[in-house]
Symmetry: C3
Subunit: 118 residues, 3 copies
C-alpha cells in the first residue's frame, strides 16, 4: 500500500492517504483569522471539502471528526454552521472539547479521518 502525502512541508502534511483512509491535519481558519466562530467554521469546512476532494474523498465519506474549540461557549455557534454543512445521512462520529489552540486568532480547529472513494 502506497502512502500519499498532500501539501507536504517539513512539519506536517495537510492530508495523508493510506489503506483507503485519509487523515487531515487539524484545520484552522487560515483565511479568516480573528473572525467570529461562525465565519471561522465556514472557512474551515470549505478547506476540509477542498482537501478531501484533492485526496479522492469528499464530505459524504467522513468517518470521524474531532473539534477543538478555544471557548466551549461557542459550541452552538459552531454547530449552526456544522449542522448545515454535513451532508444529510452522512454525519460522522464526532467529539468536541475545549482546548487552547496554537495561535490566539484561531477559535476553532477540526481534525478529520475519512474514507477514500466517491
Amino acid at each position: 500500500m502506497q502512502i500519499e502525502r498532500y501539501e507536504t512541508g517539513k512539519r506536517m502534511s495537510q492530508g495523508v492517504t493510506d489503506g483507503g483512509f485519509v487523515f487531515l491535519a487539524g484545520q484552522v481558519a487560515i483565511d479568516a483569522p480573528g473572525a467570529p466562530v461562525r465565519e471561522q467554521t465556514t472557512n474551515i469546512l470549505a478547506r476540509i471539502t477542498r482537501l478531501l476532494e484533492g485526496t479522492g474523498s469528499n464530505p459524504t465519506r467522513i468517518l470521524s471528526a474531532t473539534i477543538w474549540l478555544a471557548d466551549i461557549s461557542s459550541f452552538e455557534e459552531m454547530n449552526t454552521v456544522w449542522d448545515a454543512w454535513v451532508p444529510a445521512g452522512h454525519a460522522p462520529a464526532r467529539a468536541t472539547v475545549e482546548t487552547r489552540l496554537a495561535a490566539p486568532e484561531f477559535a476553532v480547529e477540526i481534525g478529520i479521518i475519512a474514507a477514500i472513494g466517491s
Copy 2:
C-alpha cells in the same frame, strides 16, 4: 467498501464503520449527568460496549481510546473503573488529557477506534 452509520443524526453518528474499523463518537454519561466520575465512567463504558456490539465489534477489539477529563485530578477515579472493565490481554492504546467538555454536567468523555469482528 460500504460505510455504515449507526444512530445517525444531522450532527453526528454514534458509530461509523468502514474498512474493518469502527469509529465511535465521543461518549459522555447521558444516563448519569452530574454523577461522580466513577459512575459517569461506568455509564460511558456500558454505552461503548453496547455501541461496539451493535456495529459488529466488542470491547476485546478496541484499538485506541482517547479519554478527556474535565478535571485531571479525577484520573485515578476514572482508572479504577476503566482498569476493571478492560478485558484482560486486550488493552488498547490510550491517551488521557484534561479539557473542558461540551456541557458542565459531564466530567468524562471517551472516544474509541475499534476493529470489527469477534
Copy 3:
C-alpha cells in the same frame, strides 16, 4: 485480521496493530520528567521511533500525529525538535492543542497513527 498488542498492561498497550495500521498510546517523556520541553520532545520521539520499529513500522510511515502541550507557549520549542526529526518528505497530518496532562512533570504528549511496512 489479527490484532497484535505491544507492551500490554491492564490499563493500556503502548502499541496496537490491525489492518495494516498501528496505533500508539499517547507518549510522554518517561525518561525525562520535569525536563525542558526540548528534552522531553527528544525523549518522546525516540520512544515513538522504538515503538514503531517494534511493531513493524517506522517514522517514515506516520499518517497522523496529535500533540498535546501543557503550555501552548512551548509550541516553537517543541517544533524545533519535531521539525528536525520528521523524515524529509514523510511529514504526517498533525494537530497541536493545549491540554493539562495526566502528571504535572510532563509538558508534552504525542499520539501516533502509522502504517505498518517499510
